[in-house]
């Protein structure tokens, strides 16, 4: 009997990778999934933090997809290695700070590494849910061979949803999969995918609007660039990029910014960082938790931050609001400030 062939699939949690797996499973290939966590992924935790998303099911889409497909999913932490992809993308950025082409090359390259280091598992090839022309920069006919070549995957990289528009790959040549049963999807029209999903009886799937991560988001990208400018260094830690997903960010001075929670869920989340960052909250009125990223140079900075925080609490119309400032290794101070009026906050403070 012929050996059972195996593929590893890049699973983003969206519909395309889900369909790619189903197409290959239909051909009798055993599939396992792999998902990479860069720190920028749009995931359940952003819902978990904010109050108004409480009713939404807090699920990890990649895990959920894997369960629907009946495949194992390996989630890999690539936070450290990803820094080089984001900070030095050879192929540049997309519309925002998204280095999509380099990111794809990196992820397929990591899958190649996985196949090699798990050789006892006998994976024969790699599949992705890429579709030619779907994304403006990274999913073009021209970029498909670049990804295959620069990732080191070459012809063991198969894209079942658009394979018919691409040269034959090893699994097709060897007859492990039948090219005739693969697809020729292209362009931004998602109707063929939706139709195929129906055919497979899949009707609950995530449809990420911009892309698979926060780097495609304009506001998020501008906060990231602001962070680098303020620190005079293009670098980041996981805490930095997590905090960029939470709260309002206001920068009254180049040397510090105030991160103000937008609801109770975010306040609770920011509370967890009080041992690492200076924090402020009102003791006289209900109000949000706030963190300071950067440094205060003088008392005026402290007062500015406190009056910003007072502005977002229930004491916003009060004459005086008491604010407690806690420094991670220097105890607490109590301040009494007048809240800033909304019109007194310059628009350019909002990062």
């Amino acid at each position: 009997m012929a050996r059972q062939h195996k593929a590893i699939a890049l699973i983003s949690g969206g519909l395309d990778s889900m369909l790619a797996v189903r197409v290959i499973q239909e051909q009798g290939i055993e599939v396992e999934g792999i998902n990479f966590f860069t720190g920028f992924c749009v995931e359940g935790h952003t819902h978990a933090i904010r109050n108004h998303h409480k009713d939404k099911e807090k699920r990890n889409n990649a895990l959920w997809v894997a369960e629907q497909l009946g495949i194992k999913l390996h989630i890999v932490d690539v936070i450290e290695e990803y820094k080089d992809v984001l900070l030095n993308p050879k192929h540049g950025y997309g519309a925002n700070m998204n280095p999509c082409l380099d990111c794809k090359i990196f992820m397929v390259g990591k899958a190649v590494e996985w196949v090699k280091s798990n050789h006892q598992e006998g994976f024969d090839f790699i599949i992705t849910g890429e579709v030619i022309g779907q994304r403006p920069k990274s999913q073009l006919k021209r970029t498909m061979p670049i990804i295959a070549r620069e990732s080191g995957a070459d012809d063991i990289l198969l894209r079942p949803l658009c394979a018919k528009n691409l040269p034959e790959t090893l699994p097709e040549r060897e007859g492990w999969v039948d090219r005739a049963k693969l697809y020729d999807f292209h362009g931004r029209n998602r109707k063929p995918q939706i139709a195929l999903a129906r055919q497979y009886g899949l009707n609950d799937f995530a449809t990420p609007a911009g892309g698979c991560c926060f780097l495609t988001d304009e506001k998020y990208s501008s906060k990231l660039v602001d962070l680098w400018q303020a620190r005079h260094s293009r670098d980041y830690e996981l805490d930095d990029i997590m905090l960029l997903k939470v709260g309002r960010h206001l920068r009254p001075e180049p040397h510090f910014k105030v991160i103000v929670a937008r609801d109770a869920g975010e306040s609770k989340f920011l509370e967890g960082y009080r041992k690492q960052y200076p924090s402020l909250y009102s003791t006289s009125h209900n109000g949000p938790m706030a963190l300071i990223d950067g440094q205060f140079k003088n008392h005026h900075d402290v007062e500015t931050a406190a009056s910003v925080v007072a502005r977002f609490g229930q004491g916003r119309t009060a004459e005086r609001v008491e604010i407690e400032l806690t420094l991670p290794d220097n105890g607490t101070q109590n301040l009494v400030v007048s809240p800033l009026a909304s019109e007194a906050i310059p628009a350019e403070w909002y990062v």
Binding site: G44, A48, K58, R59, L63, I75, M242
Partner: protein
């Protein structure tokens, strides 16, 4: 068979899942692992991860703002 603990407090999903996955690789079939979390998302994600990998969920308990998820390593 032995019992193990893993501290995932303050980590957001999917990090607790990744840590659980990596820890379970070091354990033997039948061992239990108690993962201590704070992200409510773990209550869905760790059981989902366990199901797809053939491990079983022993219990989920909320206590003093912490979530304790116990899984038993499958074959």
């Amino acid at each position: 068979m032995s019992d193990h603990q893993l501290d995932c407090q303050r980590l957001l999903c999917p990090l607790p899942v990744i840590r659980t996955q990596n820890k379970v690789k070091e354990l033997a079939v039948g061992d239990t692992l108690c993962v201590v979390c704070t992200d409510p998302g773990t209550k869905n994600d760790i059981p989902a991860w366990a199901r797809i990998h053939g491990h079983s969920l022993v219990s989920i308990e909320d206590k003093d703002d912490l979530i304790y998820i116990v899984v038993r390593v499958g074959a």
